[in-house]
Amino acid sequence: MAIEAKTPNPRPPDDTSVLQPHGWPRKLLVWIISEATPKCREVVRILSEQMDRKLPLVTRCRLRLHFVACSWCERYMKQLHYLRETARRFPEHADAADGAALSPEARLRLKQTLNNS
């Protein structure tokens, strides 16, 4: 079916939103939205940019509209925030991740340097 083939962004199977593209009116709506908003490859780029600067209102509206038809991109946005939230905490947990310590040689060298200066 034509719309099926052109419906690029069905909601993921585990998504429970009202806009599952079942039935032709919804499929048509999804298709219209995907034609009217940037493609996912571009959307993810914009979403990353949004983490670093405030986007114009029009762009934010288009993103919202895109999410109506594409919860993959919406998920991607949530995951960028997840990344930020965890990355901020990464340094304090680095001990757990690594347990790194100065090597005995480095320790000795440091002491010698401090003594000699």
Binding site: R41, R45, D52, R75, A87, F90, A97, A100, L102
Partner: protein
């Protein structure tokens, strides 16, 4: 970076340099190595990701501290003071890196994640982002999560990882990073996008979607 490279560059942190002398009896720099060496080293290592560089930075920090210890005079905790110096040393290191190397690697940015999208630009259905569970505040307590993140960060190209670290771990504003590394904002966004995309993917495969 070469050993000792950080030594040539010690401007801002060395702002507090004065003649050593009287303090010598109260502060023993050798003791600093034992008491604060490892925490300082770890702090540097997680940010610069190379042991030699981290060691150099600790050395620079302690040397600066030794030169300026009279000014310290116990206004804050000794460790807090040393960390303050180390932070300056680290940002000096990145500044220097920004001047020495062209910081963008546009070649590797050319064909961004083409396998994730169909040619028209939509997600390949089976490669779209998966649901991430558990929530962020739950994974914070899992050391395996941090190990995975560490491994994923290590896989990023160095410059991309540096940019990501400054922006997302240290929370430095975009404009400041750009001036620090002498790159344009659009370059920065491309690099950050790439880092986020790659990290997201790596965490999804190795943590959220791993065999349980």
């Amino acid at each position: 970076m070469k050993r000792g490279g950080a030594a040539q560059f010690s401007s801002s942190a060395a702002a507090a340099t004065s003649a050593p002398g009287r303090g010598r009896s109260q502060t023993n720099p050798e003791r600093w190595v034992d008491e604060h060496g490892d925490p300082l080293f770890r702090y540097a290592l997680v940010r610069v990701r190379a042991r030699e560089v981290a060691e150099d930075l600790v050395q620079e920090t302690l040397l600066s501290a030794m030169r300026s210890r009279e000014k310290f005079a116990g206004q804050s905790s000794e460790r807090g003071w040393l960390f303050g110096i180390l932070k300056h040393k680290i940002s000096d290191y990145f500044r220097k890196l920004g001047r020495e190397t062209s910081f963008t690697d546009l070649e590797s940015l050319a064909d961004e994640f083409s396998e994730k999208f169909v040619p028209e630009g939509y997600w390949v259905h089976v490669k779209g982002p998966k649901e991430w569970k558990p929530e962020a505040d739950e994974v914070m307590h899992r050391s395996e999560f941090w190990q995975t993140m560490h491994a994923c960060l290590d896989k990023l190209p160095e410059r991309i990882a540096n940019v990501f670290m400054l922006r997302e771990m240290e929370g430095v504003e975009s404009k400041e990073i750009c001036s620090m590394l002498s790159i344009s904002e659009s370059n920065l966004w491309v690099m950050l996008h790439r880092a986020r995309m790659a990290l997201r993917e790596c965490l999804e495969i190795n943590w959220f979607n791993r065999e349980k």
